[in-house]
Amino acid sequence: MKVLVPVKRVIDYNVKPRVKSDETGVDLANVKMSMNPFCEIAVEEAVRLKEKGVVTEVVAVSIGPAQAQETLRTALAMGADRAILVQTDADLEPLAVAKVLKAVIDEESPNLVVMGKQAIDGDNNATGQMLSALLGWPQASFASKLEVSGDKATVTREVDGGLQTIEAPLPVIITADLRLNEPRYASLPNIMKAKKKPLDTKDIASYGVDTAPRLKVVKVAEPPKRGGGIKVETAADLVAKLKNEAGVL
C-alpha cells in the first residue's frame, strides 16, 4: 500500500510575518522557511502507518520553487521513502495545487493521501477538500485519529461541537489536524540518510495542467493595530475599569 503526502514550504511558524511596504505581499526575503506544521503532522502519520506495517511506501510531494527540495529532504529524514518536486516559481492557488496533485496521483496511484488541513501562510484550508472533489475520492478532513485496516479508513474528526467519527473505503483523502500526532524530530543519521533517498524533480508544465491564477491580489496590507492598553494593580481595579470605563460588564 502506498501513501502520498503533499508538503508545503512556508514561513517558519515562529517568525512574525511582515507586510512589504509597497503592499504587494508578505516579505519572505531572508526569512526562515520550514515545512508547514500541518504537513509535518501528515508526514508523521504516514511514517507511523509504515512502521505499523500498514503501508509499504511513503511518497512526499511538494509543488514549489527549487528550495522546496529542503522541505522534501525533511520529509525524507522523517521517514518518507522518496520525494517528488513539481517545480514552479509561481504562487499557486489551492485549486491549481489540487489539480497538479491530481495529476501526480494519476501517475502514482496511491491508496491514501495524508495532507495538512491548512497551510499557515495562505490559511485557505481548502486544498484537500478540492482534491477530494476533483478525484471523487472520499474526504476525511481535520483528522485527530486515523486507523487503516483492510481497505477501509476510520477517521475521528475535529468538528464545531466536539468530535465525529466517519469511515470510508480506500482510496481516501485525509487532512491532518493538530492533535493527530506529535511529529518527530529527524535524527542526524536520518538526515544524512535522507540525502541519498530519491528525489525527482519535474517541471510543472509537464503535467499540462492549467495553473494560471484566477484571483487578482489587489493589495496585502497590515491589519489595524490595537491601541496600547494599561496595567491595573488589582482585581478590584480591573472590575471597576470594565464597568465604568469600558462598559462591558
Binding site: 514561513i11 511558524y13 512574525k16 510575518p17 507586510v19 508578505v26 492557488e93 489551492p94 485549486l95 491548512q118 499557515i120 501562510d121 490559511d123 484550508n125 481548502a126 477538500q129 482534491l131 477530494s132 472533489a133 476533483l134 474526504q139 476525511a140 478532513s141 481535520f142 476510520t154 468538528v159 464545531d160 466536539g162 468530535l163 465525529q164 467519527t165 466517519i166 469511515e167 470510508a168 473505503p169 493538530l178 492533535r179 484566477r214 484571483l215 487578482k216 491580489v217 489587489v218 493589495k219 496585502v220 496590507a221 491589519p223 490595537r226 492598553g229 494599561i230 496595567k231 491595573v232 482585581a235 478590584a236 480591573l238 472590575v239 475599569k241 470594565l242 469600558a246 462591558v248 460588564l249
Partner: protein
Amino acid sequence: MAVLVIADQTGGALSDNTHKTVSAAKAIGGDIDILVTGKDCKSAAEAAAKIEGVRKVLLAQSDDLGHGLAEAVEAAVVPLMGGYDAVLTPATSQGKNFSPRIAAKLDVSHISDIVEVVDASTFVRPIYAGNALETVQSSEAKKVITVRPTAFKAAGEGGSAAIEDIGAGDGAGATKFVTEEIVKSERPELTGAKIVVSGGRAMGSAEEFQKVIEPLADRLGAAVGASRAAVDAGYAPNDYQVGQTGKVVAPELYIAIGISGAIQHLAGMKDSKIIVAINKDGDAPIFQVADYGLVADYKAAVPELMSALG
C-alpha cells in the same frame, strides 16, 4: 445577481452565523436565498425565513446531511448553482469542510474566510494568522466564499420568505457516519458569545481548568475558550481552542488567563472589543494587545476577581 447563503444550524436551531453571513451577502447585493441542510431541521428553515431581506428558503434533509458529511452537502448545493452568482457559507469547521468542494466542482477558486466585502467581486481575507490582510478580486463567473462571521453584524429579523423543500440530493456516497461526541453545554456558544474567558497552559490540569476558568465564566455568563497548549494537554476539549487553527472569536470582552499570547492564539481573538490579560509574566506578549493587563498569579487574582464581581 443572486446569492445563496448556506445556513449554519444544529438540531434544528439556527445559528446567528447565518444572519451574519446574510449581511455579507447583502453587501454583495442581489437576491438572497438561504439553503438549510440537515435532518429534522424544518424549524431552522422557519427561523431562516424570518431573516430580513431573504427572498426564499430552500430546505434539503437527509441522514447524510444531518451528519454534515461534506460530499452530501456538496451534492445538494452544486445542482442549484445554475441559479446563483455566489454561494456564501459561514467559516465554521462544518463550512470549511464542504465549501472548497463546491468551488472545485464548479472549477472556480475558493475564497476563504472573508472579513470584508469591498464590492461584488472584491474581498478582504486574513492570511498569515491575521498578520496580513489580503484584498483579492475575482473575475470568475461564480464565487464560492466562506465568511468569517465575527466580522459581520447579524442581519435583522422581520422577513417572511417562502420555504421550498428541495429533497435530499445524492448523499455522501462511500463515506459513512459512525459516531459523534458532541459536548452539550448550557453556556453560550463560543464564537457568538458576548464574553469569553479562556485559560492556558498555566492551569496545569483539567481539574484546575474546571475549578478556575469555568466558575468565572459562569459568573459572567461567558463562553469558555482555551489555548492550543491547554487543549493539547487535555485540560479542555478540542472545540474550545481559540486561534489561527481553532475558533475565531470577537466578543465584547475576552479574558485570557495564563495565556502567553502566541501569534497563533492572537489570530483568533485580537478583534475582540476589550481584551483583559492575567499573567504573572509582565513581559508576556498578550499584554501588547490587552486593554487591561493584570500582572499577577492567577491563583490569587481569579478569586479576587470573583469577589470583586460580587
